[in-house]
């Protein structure tokens, strides 16, 4: 059957290209405008961007080409249509572990190269003898700054993020955190130097290590006098990997089987030493900043517990309101198993002179952070298409009503990788009702669980081992074994 092609209007595509390229610049770095776009318009641009990206990246990112070929998808006509092309986050750790253990960075490079549009084949990694040296080499010679993270299973995942991705990510943080929603940007919000206080590392390939230098670029506008970090060294990805493997092995009760290269073993003591003093050093650092930067506008990115400890002590000493009122505080939710005190927000707000401490939801594999609003919802930036997937079928749940499912995202701003990602997080979105805060953007409920935590039946007993069962077995059976 012959169909007549509708007249081609490229307006949406052109808009999509601007969003994909640098959405913050396109919207004049204006937080309120960004979060006030009509949803229909946003979704039209998202759909156009998906097709543009798919066409472009398919020839550049080999793993995507394979996936799209297998699914037989060349173009999508709806947002849901892209769901089969969202890549599970596991893809970024899908290399054989022995390559890492045997330090075969050439092969790892080949594998990583299939996940990014940037060419890694020219990077000579033959002299690399550690994760750190491998990732540094890539960073030195390409546009990439690979994000490494270690999971509880003892494997390390590598996300071939570009430096531009990191900058865009950090800009999103500045735009969303420094401005108050509903108002125009204030002088200094966009262009001014803001002291960046990062009670973490100077450098590193994990987010925790990488944030420092990019926050220096974006918040401190590159001025080293405005960049304050606690640890004057690089967070080693090798040591993080070792730690993850040791933890995973310990959970299974067999540390002896962890095959640790001698070079790494030699650094273990150093790392343990660093770990041991870390909380005290961080507290001392925050206290030093309080003295040094009183009354100034600061951006603090830290864990809530650390800020709480510093604030509590400060208040006891009769101090309060130490930083300028337009300072920005971003706190992490605290480590698992570390309860947050009831008066956390009150104490921090009183001491640091801030209206509120802001949380955000994000991950290494995405550029765009979702910031928590005054009504406790994480707002997804318009250039990110959120999906909720059915836990059983993996199919997208209807984009209407209130739904809870496995979160997946398509971030059209991804500069290096494909941008479509299936996470391990269980998220709730009310698709129909815009948030009371006034933002039009889609909003995720504050409570986000790991999918793995909520799965597993009531009282189903099986004799076949699962890792959870094993870890619990160890914990409980060694507990009373004497």
């Amino acid at each position: 059957m012959a169909t007549t092609a509708p007249p081609k209007d490229n307006t949406v595509e052109r808009e999509a290209e601007r969003w994909m390229n640098d959405p913050y610049e396109h919207f004049g770095y204006h937080n309120t405008r960004i979060h006030s776009l009509p949803r229909e318009e946003v979704e039209a641009v998202q759909l156009a961007a998906m097709n543009l990206r798919l066409k472009e990246r398919r020839g550049e990112v080999q793993m995507l080409a394979k996936l799209a070929d297998a699914q037989g998808i060349d173009e999508v006509s709806s947002l849901e249509g892209l769901a089969p092309l969202l890549m599970p986050h596991d893809i970024y750790k899908s290399y054989p572990t022995s390559l890492l253990a045997k330090q075969q960075f050439g092969k790892l490079n080949g594998w990583l190269g299939k996940l990014t549009r940037h060419d890694l084949s020219g990077v000579d990694v033959s002299q690399c003898d550690s994760i750190d040296s491998w990732l540094t080499k890539i960073r030195d010679e390409t546009l990439l700054d690979v994000g490494a993270s270690s999971g509880s299973s003892g494997t390390c995942s590598f996300y071939p993020k570009s430096k531009r991705d990191y900058r865009l990510s950090m800009m999103g943080m500045r735009v969303q955190l420094a401005q108050k929603f509903g108002e125009d940007p204030q002088p200094g919000d966009i262009d001014g130097k803001i002291h960046a206080i990062i009670p973490l590392y100077k450098d590193g390939h994990a987010s925790m290590g990488a944030f420092g230098k990019y926050s220096c670029e974006i918040f401190a506008k590159g001025d080293p006098d405005f960049w304050h970090y606690c640890f004057d060294f690089k967070l080693s990805s090798d040591l993080m990997w070792l730690a993850a493997r040791l933890r995973a092995a310990a959970a299974k009760g067999d540390v002896s089987k962890v095959d640790v290269p001698a070079t790494l073993l030699a650094r273990r003591a150093e790392w343990e030493q660093q770990q041991a003093n870390m909380p005290a050093q961080q507290l001392a650092f925050v206290n030093e900043m309080i003295g040094k930067l009183q009354g100034q506008r600061v951006f603090v990115m830290s864990t809530s517990n650390l800020l709480y400890a510093a604030a509590k002590r400060g208040l006891e000493e009769g101090l309060s309101g130490v930083f300028a009122p337009d300072s920005v505080f971003m706190g992490g939710g605290g480590a698992k198993g570390v309860p947050l005190p009831d008066d956390l927000e009150e104490v921090i707000e009183r001491f640091f002179n801030t209206k509120r401490m802001i949380s955000s939801y994000g991950m290494t594999e995405m550029n765009s952070f979702s910031v928590l609003c005054e009504h406790d919802r994480y707002h997804v930036l318009p250039w990110v298409t959120p999906y909720l997937l059915d836990l059983d079928s993996g199919q997208p749940l209807p984009r209407s009503g209130q739904q809870t499912g496995r979160a997946a995202f398509f971030d059209m701003t991804a500069e290096s990788c494909w941008g479509g990602l299936v996470t391990g997080d269980l998220v709730t979105i009310d698709w129909d009702h815009p948030c009371e805060c006034g933002r039009t953007s889609y909003a995720m409920e504050k409570k986000i669980n790991r999918v793995s935590e909520i799965q597993g039946g009531d009282d189903k007993i099986s004799c076949a081992a699962t890792p959870g069962a094993q870890a619990e077995a160890m914990e409980f059976l060694t507990g009373f074994g004497g």
């Binding site: 793993m63 394979k66 996936l67 297998a70 890549m87 599970p88 596991d90 893809i91 750790k93 899908s94 290399y95 054989p96 572990t97 022995s98 390559l99 080949g110 594998w111 299939k114 299973s153 494997t155 299974k252 009760g253 067999d254 089987k257 836990l391 059983d392 079928s393 993996g394 299936v422 999918v451 793995s452 799965q455 597993g456 039946g457 009531d458 009282d459 189903k460 007993i461 099986s462 004799c463 076949a464 081992a465 699962t466 890792p467 959870g468 069962a469 094993q470 619990e472 077995a473 914990e475 409980f476 059976l477 507990g479 009373f480």
Partner: protein
């Protein structure tokens, strides 16, 4: 009219309880079922006094076998409405599919065969140890040892309906008093067996020494009442630690835990498997026979298959052929043995699909239709999600040496299938040192002695009995009194 709702009956010492029903289950799309409120029957679950064990000793071993032999045929589906009902409901709760559950139910009466049980008991415990004191002269004494029935609580696994029947048999032949806590993935079968026992012989000691009930594992208020040394002596808990972890806090002197802890199984294969299309077909069939039966829900189901073929490109090409032969063999197994899984684990599917994109390092055969998949590693690495392999999914891994394989045989390893025979002695010996518990010829993991044998290294039958010692001095034993007392050496 409301559809009839499934009931997990409590059967307490000859009495069927179907009152005070409350709802259980229903999480994660599971069906809900009704069971008597366990708190209302908590006092009737344990045996009131060890004194009440005496009646079990009024029956000779052959009398126990007679009872079981009479029970077996009564459990035949065609003549037993309780079993029919339980089967109907079990389709929803069982992890395996209808043809497999049907086959379990069909075969269940044969477990009660007299000679089969007699051999099982004699092999595992020794009938003479159950029937009386087995005496020997030792150090100037007549030392006797005897296996007594214990008051035992069984937290049964629900992989297959046979486990409840097996538990009933084991308890009866050891003259134990059994409390069976049924699992939510098999809440009906054991109750149906017990109801049949009540109909058959309501006052028989074996019937009176069985209490079957469902409660939610971890119901602390209930468990702390029952799990007391004055009620029970042994807790035999199958692998699921969701239940076991709650149990462990009740362990104290006077209560012994027999933990059939979670395990997994593997296969170790020599390079001969890749010699010809014929050997590949044979070995593929053997591998399939060791992982696919019952849809891989058992701990004895193989999940990791190591082939000592080397890791060069040509080796991998052959390994893919072996993988294809294995896949074909799996697909041609009769449906009473193996079927397309009931519900392919969506997380596993996601992982398998991810692996598909990574064809430099892995080859995936099958798996697109949720039927199961063969994952072939191109390096000596197992897949990252190897601990989650199930639903007829195995990982075939090439290795250069046996040592690489032995590194992954550990305390969580139950069965190891071995082929060809020239590997047998070495793998069995070295594997045992690493933690392997049961060694079988590849292809016979589900076609051997079965649970009639010692099961695995845990030997539950020997451990659910109490081993009691009696000592009497011989005539010439020097006493610890009188003039010669100082000459007695008090050796430990």
């Amino acid at each position: 009219m409301m559809a009839k709702r499934p009931i997990s009956y409590a059967v307490l010492r000859g009495e069927v309880v179907e009152t005070d029903l409350i709802e259980f289950g229903g999480r994660g799309g599971d069906i809900t079922f009704l069971a008597p409120d366990p708190h209302k029957i908590a006092d009737r679950i344990p045996l009131a006094s060890p004194r009440l064990m005496e009646d079990m000793y009024s029956i000779p071993f052959d009398g126990i076998l007679d009872y079981l032999a009479e029970l077996g045929p009564r459990l035949e589906l065609s003549r037993n409405p309780y079993m029919q009902e339980a089967l109907e409901y079990s389709y929803d709760t069982a992890p395996s599919t209808k043809p497999i559950v049907d086959a379990f139910y069909h075969d269940l009466p044969f477990m009660f065969d007299k000679e089969r049980i007699r051999k099982m008991v004699d092999f595992n415990i020794g009938i003479d140890h159950l029937e009386g004191w087995v005496e020997q002269q030792l150090n100037g004494c007549t030392v006797g040892i005897r296996a007594y029935g214990s008051r035992q609580l069984h937290i049964v696994a629900g992989n297959g309906p046979v486990l409840g029947a097996l538990t009933v048999i084991r308890g009866a032949v050891t003259r134990g008093d059994m409390i069976v806590k049924v699992p939510s993935n098999d809440p009906f079968t054991t109750g149906a067996i017990a109801r049949t026992m009540v109909d058959m012989a309501p006052d028989h000691p074996i019937t009176k020494h069985l209490a079957v009930a469902y409660w939610r594992g971890g119901d602390e208020a209930l468990e702390s009442r029952i799990y007391q040394p004055h009620n029970i002596e042994k807790i035999c808990a199958w692998g699921g630690f969701a239940s076991v972890k709650h149990v462990t806090k009740y362990i104290q002197p006077g209560i012994e835990l027999i933990s059939l802890d979670p395990k997994r199984s593997a296969s170790i294969i020599g390079k001969e498997a890749l010699e010809s299309p014929e050997t590949m077909a044979e070995v593929g069939a053997r591998i399939a026979a060791d992982f696919a039966p019952g849809n891989q829900v058992a701990c004895s189901s193989s999940r990791l298959v190591y082939v000592m073929c080397g890791t060069e490109d040509e080796d991998i090409e052959k390994l893919k052929q072996l993988g294809q032969a294995t896949y074909d063999a799996m697909m041609s197994l009769p449906e009473v043995i193996s079927t397309k899984p009931k519900r392919y684990d969506p997380d596993l599917k996601r992982q398998v699909d991810t692996l598909r994109l990574n064809d430099d390092f892995y080859t995936v055969i099958g798996g697109k239709d949720g039927e199961g998949a063969i994952l072939i590693s191109h390096t000596s690495d197992r897949v990252e999600f190897w601990e989650y392999l199930g639903d007829r999914t195995i990982n075939i891994i090439p290795v250069d040496t046996l040592d690489e394989v032995l590194d992954v045989v550990d305390a969580y390893t139950q069965t190891v299938g071995v082929w060809p025979d020239n590997l047998w002695d070495t793998v069995r010996h070295k594997g045992a040192l690493h933690g392997g518990q049961r060694f079988v010829e590849l292809g016979y993991g589900f076609n051997g002695a079965g649970l009639v044998g010692p099961q695995d290294g845990i030997e539950p039958m020997r451990r659910i009995v109490k081993w009691i010692v009696s000592e009497k001095p011989s005539a010439d034993k020097v006493p610890l009194w009188g003039d010669t007392a100082k000459d007695v050496k008090m050796l430990a």
